[in-house]
């Protein structure tokens, strides 16, 4: 599969846990992502939700999405119109939840990316290439494992399972 995105950098630091994406307390009040998106990242950046624009890209440091496995953290990001999160590294639960919902997690060197810069992200079967369209180096990230590419190509775990009926050994082993 190939996928290309362009967007504006919204920069965050290291160890942004899922409670910082959306607090468990907000989630207690509603699971409606169109409501919850007004509180996106409120603990670490109270002005974020008001300034986010569809197509923006989350760019973070290490261990993005650590802490709770709550899947709403991925779906609220998507509800705000964000289609990819770039980070130096991810927690495994957030990474899975992102893929399962069709949110692209990109593991790459984000150190030179600055708030407000424009990036293009191109995902192929062999690598992810991130170009800084404003100023800065082009960086690459590792390809996703075969099964994750299949789930992402299907549009998430829901359409993947509707199409396949289960997890096939072929898609888990292969690189396509």
């Amino acid at each position: 599969m190939t996928l290309a995105l362009e967007g504006r950098v919204r920069k965050f630091g290291d160890h942004v846990n899922t409670d910082y994406v959306i607090t468990s307390t907000r989630k207690r009040d509603t699971l409606d992502v169109s409501v919850l998106k007004q509180y996106l990242f409120e603990v670490v950046d109270p002005k974020f939700a008001a300034s986010v624009q569809p197509g923006d890209l989350i760019v973070a440091g290490r261990n993005f999405g650590c802490g709770s496995a709550m899947e709403i953290a991925a779906s609220v990001i998507l509800a705000a119109g964000i289609r990819a999160v770039l980070a130096e590294s991810f927690s495994r639960t957030f990474f899975r939840n992102a893929i399962n919902n069709g949110l692209l997690p990109v593991q790459c060197d984000t150190k030179a990316m600055r708030e407000g810069q424009s990036l293009s992200v191109t995902l192929s079967e062999t690598a992810v290439v991130v170009k800084n369209l404003t100023a800065g180096p082009t960086v690459t990230g590792p390809a996703l494992p075969g099964i994750m590419q299949s789930i992402l190509a299907a549009g998430g775990l829901v359409p993947y399972l509707r199409a396949n009926g289960g997890f096939s050994a072929a898609s888990s082993q292969g690189g396509t």
């Binding site: 160890h15 846990n17 409670d19 910082y20 607090t23 468990s24 307390t25 989630k27 207690r28 009040d29 509603t30 699971l31 603990v43 670490v44 290490r62 261990n63 650590c66 802490g67 709770s68 496995a69 709550m70 899947e71 709403i72 991925a74 590294s89 927690s91 495994r92 639960t93 899975r96 939840n97 399962n100 919902n101 494992p145 075969g146 099964i147 998430g156 775990l157 829901v158 399972l161 509707r162 289960g166 997890f167 096939s168 050994a169 888990s172 082993q173």
Partner: protein, 416 residues
Amino acid sequence: MPRTISEKILSTKSGAPARAGAIVVCNVDLVIGTDASAPMAIDYFEQMGGSRVFDPSKIFFALDHYAPPANDATRALHDRVRVFAQKYGIAVDDVGEGISHQIAVERGRVRPGDLVIGADSHTVTCGALNLFATGVGSSDLAAAMITGQIWLRVPESIRVTLVGWRPRGLTAKDVALALVGEIGAEGASYQTLEFEGPALPQFTLEERLVLTSLAVEMGAKAAIFPADEVTDAYLRGRAEKPGAPVEADADAVYAREVTMTLGELSPRIAMPHAPDHVFTIEEALGVPIQMVFIGTCTGGRVSDVHEVINVLNRWGSRIAKGVQLVVTPACAEVRAKLEADGPLAKLAAMGAVVTTPGCGACCGTSGVIPSDGMNVMSTANRNFKARMGNATASIYLASPAACAAAAATGRITDPR
């Protein structure tokens, strides 16, 4: 080829040679959902076209995060879970039964050699019983309910060897926090912590659960103890069927080796606002504390509350003025034992608030929320800003003994 415990369990469950780094599709032995994750999983289940579950006897839901429901939204989530569970013949542990993975362990629903997935990150806790347990989100939970399967990347393992003798006053929480400090918040990402070593018999099963619970704060996918006499004794009278204990091959390959020498350790504390912000308690002495929380899957079990009582008794069996002490048993069995033996009544007589078994105040979803600017001392596993529902509060994580010493004195105090 020699194999780790993780490689052996995932090989058995996938029917394929599961070497670290490979991706395998595994059959699961138990699927766990909570009121915080099952409602979304039910949405995914319906969107996936689910019309039956693979085996209702291998699934259960626990209503633990909103226990009891304090608003209409969470009341509705509970109803949704109950209706779905009834339709598909799935067991529900209702409000007051306790934390999902604590119930799984306490009631013998997990056994050595099992593969357990739970839509709660602290599902890893179950690994203290010599099994592979990992946390997932709601969509993976839904897929597992339909298919009975999950795909997993076989993790590399870190061997954590415990050696030496525990000095007086060294709790399991201190060892666990020291390990979090050593390994760091993502030092075990995508990997399993496999515990080993001559000091293991010094740790009860309840204490092992503290170590496995905190593994996820290092990013770990699973945390596993070997099966030994301690495991057997705990399972006796709990598990209906015997498990299939798994041990690592002597020459299994590990990503990293970490040795914890117990004699060199001392009480630890995680300062705000990260679980790996770990210091010796001496470095935090004197910080004023206004709320103390005893509970969660890390610190809400019988021995934890006994530890609290013992320390409070040394300080005159009273709580310092201006300190709110909140106690939340991890599950109904814990509460029943503590009621029978007396500690809960003693704590209540001192002015403690005893709340419904479950996740309690840990993530600001049920129970007590700290006031503005409060310093909270907690036996929990996470101290992220706003974690307990107030972004201006500061949360310190420590052992039940250290929390009790803070409750008795109103400030961070060495419990020894």
